[in-house]
Amino acid sequence: MDSNEEEQKIPVSQRPEWADVKPVPQDDGPRPVVPIAYTEEFRETMDYFRAVYVSDERSPRSLQLTSEAIHLNPGNYTVWHFRRAVLEALNADLHEELDFVENVAKENSKNYQIWHHRRWLAEKLGTGAIVKELEFTKNILSLDAKNYHAWSHRQWVLKALGGWEDELEYCHQLLTDDVFNNSAWNQRYFVVTGSPLLGGLDAMRDSEVDYTIEAIIAHPENESPWRYLRGLYKQDMKTWANDPRISSLCLKVLSTKTRCIFALSTLLDLICSGFQPGPEFKAAVDDLQASDTGPSDSGLGETICSVLERIDPLRVNYWTWRKSHLPSVTV
């Protein structure tokens, strides 16, 4: 504990610089439904906070008091709001404020107020904040790669201030660490479709398809890249159904005979979008049938659904529904 924190342990009421302030106690109403037990430290800090808030005293000591109140309860949005008013009035060094937030965020990275405050700071600092904000979110994401607040903030920084240069590489890094990270796949789509430096989805589709196929082959049970792959074609089902890389991917995964739910469902989607499968597809799917059934006489779409009903029993009703909605002419 450093000396500054030690000093904070002196109750506010006993600090000489607060002698002139009359604390304002919490009003729980005349007959509180729920009497609340506060810690003495919390009660006193908030009583003094209320005093400066009511008198709208935008002073250095008010700033210090909000720091203490935030450490005691970072979820109180009134305290944060007042702190911003004080920071503005004092024309405070906002880079110092970034450090304050970073400290609070270490223990409370899922608190809405912190992120909202951070965004306010970044808006004030403008493009000068880009590097620090990308670094800040990166630090938070290194501890929890799926932190929704950190991702939202990062996307806002990129859209509002810029800093796209290394973002695709960053996604790649995260996916190298954990290829199952759906947030990283989502960010990849955000970059590929939104970065002003990459030329948009049409320019990126080819290389992204190859990248994704590689990820799928390494882990065919990974839901995220399968959905990403489909998303790369957006509403253009025809191009998707006719891209031989997609159908060969399905065939390749099916031939491993394991972890193939997404390969089967993708092949099913391809067929429903007009893909004409060759006999090798039928053979691969027949191989997945229960050993006692042998090659089936039904169409490929129907066989796929039957296999899925068996190997994915949690969602048997979904696959049965798919079976009943096959295009009338299936192979």
Binding site: V33, V34, Y38, T39, E107, H116, Q155, N186, K234
Partner: protein, 369 residues
Amino acid sequence: MVELAAEKHVRYIITVEKVSYSIRKLTCCPDPLPQYLQKKDAFESVVMEHLRMNGAYWGLTTLDLLGKLHVVDQDEVISWVMECQHESGGFAGNIGHDPHILYTLSAVQVLALFDKLNMLDIEKSVLEGQISAFLVHDDLILIHRAEKNYALGLRSTLTLYSDIASLQNEDGSFSGDMWGEVDTRFSYIAICCLSLLHQLDKIDVEKAVNYIVRCKNLDGGFGATPGGESHAGQIFCCVGALAITGSLHHVDKDLLGWWLCERQVKSGGLNGRPEKLPDVCYSWWVLSSLIMIDRVHWIDREKLIKFILDCQDLEQGGISDRPDDAVDVFHTYFGVAGLSLLEYPGVKAIDPAYALPVDVVNRILLPHD
């Protein structure tokens, strides 16, 4: 199979309501407990303090779903709720705090549970009650009320409506408070709240819907902002808002339905995003979304029921996020609400969009004679 320990849960909720109204300790929850308060000697009630309104809604709705709303002192709760209303019309999480749209919805929902939305029409005025009793013609009463409202400068629904409506931004999105944080959660809250008050015309519904549609992702799900990752909680908010505004045609129902039913894992529980752990609260967010898009039969009902029931504390009551974890009011509510959506016997039906018992929603929205 284990059964629903309804009596125990009722007792648990009454106890917690009395002590602190709610305890939240889990990272999955909107505002998790700060580290400081996770220490043994810390007071749960400190956290509670500013979000007691949410706790009241979770606890009281659970009681109603279990047919036990009458065990609480209605007048006490209502007068506390009204004490939390701010001059701006919005509600705070507790008396003496600043209003926030998160608490405003909970307050409106609590008033709805007790059939007390009329509390918002005008401050209770004995005098007015006496005068209006003498007036026969409806219009006269209305005129009279409006005049009184205006003259006395009372907090009225009018300020509440404009308070909520003022949170709508140019692009159709909503902020949570006057300080601007934007999130599709707030779109849902504003739309749900105004619909319960018959005031949807106070906002630009078309713009609000367009903003939500911009948050749709390649997997059919929705995020907090355009480009934000699909998350079951956000999906509930977006689908709920679209359902209330009659805009479900914007949802890719089959695609989203498949994504949602992929959330069910081997244990029978549901997660909120791929590769995340299952959690009882997602029973609500995933299930309600599936029901709104008419695809709930795509998940394994029996296995999910078993998962929720396995999360009960059979001795002390209450439901936790996962089997053998500590219980809290938040997950007790979502567990019971999930069972309600699964038509578990003995639990009242809950409306998937308004998150209130169906009879309460009907009372408010069905035309009266």
